[in-house]
Amino acid sequence: MDIYDVLIRDFPFLLKGLGVAIALLFCLLVIGLFLGLAICLIQLYGPRSRFVQWPLIVYERIFRGIPIIIMLFIFFYGLSGVYDISAFAAAVLAMGLRSAAYQSQIFRSAFQSVPEGQMLAARAMGMSSSKAIAYIVLPQAIRHAIGPWTNEFSSQIKETSLAYVIGVVELTRQAHYIITSTQGNVLIVFAVVALLYFILNRAGNSALYAFERKLSVPGFEK
């Protein structure tokens, strides 16, 4: 029986692939989070000089305009020619830098939906601009950002599957290995793989939704 083969004999391999996918997801989201937030803060509060702002715009355009598959190849072949870099590291870098380009936009519109009066009042009370950002604007921006951030999380889970193309042995490539080595039923293997992604996506969404509820404050409900 094919289905039992997949569920019992092959499942440990799929789980191993799932683990790699989750590790990739975690690393790329963390890079995207910090870099994206930094980009957003420079865009909103940094020097207005063109020499600072233009490179950021170009950065966002490039990473948002080129398919992730192409980016993966560029990073993988570009870096492995110079450094001894693993496919996983290349994927983390390409996808993390790309996620930063998306997250910076998420944060930017979240910061912009905090009314100006909030910053003004904080400054009027004697807070420096960095304190006002840290204690007043950022906590509100996070509440605006978490919904769109959940969407970014979902798309990134699915896009980890594309690291397959440069040979990262994540869930989808594990599935391929299983199919080629066991002549297993392609339909069932991919159905199980799809289900795993689906569950991971759902679990992540529920966790983020719970976080959103925990932070929820009257006046910020959507």
Partner: protein, 246 residues
């Protein structure tokens, strides 16, 4: 030097896009005094008030707080000593009432948490809202929000309180509670500058009324004199219009 002098504004000028909205304003404020700024909209009252703590950066002129000049380098320290109450409250919307009154004590003045809490409750008591300490701004009426914002300013122990049309964003039936709090503060000896259209407040609480028009101080004097026999024709005209509509 006059030891009771709290605020000294000297020749403050401000232009927006070539239009001069403040044409060299000077006035001073002593401890315990309440001065009310009145005048038609666009006369520069709010701009003047915001120039005092540099929310609007003056183009020229100087502001002294207790003899110390307000400058770009000491602005955060000075602002902590100058309470400011906004027309649209600007309570921090992600914080409870209690935290709104505590946060700047803790983060700006470095007051210890327990002490800040006690102080917050004192000030909330003063504006009659200590029972709403756990509410969020969105759960309060406009009048209540404005009273919290007054408590927030008071908790910083300011040398002077500036009110920028504190009742203009409120429904008419809610202005009373805010005016009452302000009157109480005035009679408690708080030092305040108030921009307002509430003539009843000006009449009862002001030590001096400053009438502004087109970026100038047209006339100033105690309420009695100004309301009964203003020297300047424009002041009289303005007060008549206000009397009819207010």
């Amino acid at each position: 030097m006059d030891s009771d002098l709290v605020l000294d504004v000297k020749g403050v000028k401000k232009s927006y896009g070539g239009v001069e909205v403040l044409k060299g304003i000077s006035f001073s404020l002593h401890r315990g005094e309440t001065k009310v700024l009145i005048g038609p909209s666009g006369s520069g009252k709010s701009t003047l008030l915001r120039s005092i703590n540099h929310l609007t950066h003056p183009d020229d002129g100087k502001v002294y707080l207790k003899g110390e000049e307000v400058t770009d380098s000491n602005i955060d320290k000075m602002r902590a000593r100058i309470g400011f109450v906004f027309q649209d409250f600007n309570l921090f919307s992600h914080l409870t009432v209690l935290d709104n009154v505590r946060i700047c004590q803790i983060r700006v003045n470095g007051v210890e948490r327990d002490k800040a809490t006690r102080r917050a409750y004192e000030e909330l008591e003063r504006v009659g809202l200590s029972d709403r300490a756990d509410a969020y701004p969105a759960e309060l009426s406009g009048g209540q929000q404005q009273r919290v914002s007054i408590a927030r300013a008071l908790a910083m122990d300011p040398d002077v309180l500036l009110f920028d049309e504190p009742t203009s964003a409120l429904d008419p039936e809610l202005t009373g509670e805010v005016v009452k709090v302000m009157q109480q503060l005035a009679s408690d000896g708080m030092t305040m500058v108030v921009v307002t259209h509430e003539m009843s407040f000006a009449r009862q609480a002001a030590d001096e009324i400053i009438f502004m028009e087109k970026g100038y101080i047209v006339e100033q004097g105690d309420p009695q004199t100004l309301f009964t026999g203003a020297e300047n024709e424009r002041t009289r005209a303005f007060l008549n219009v206000i009397a009819e509509h207010g």
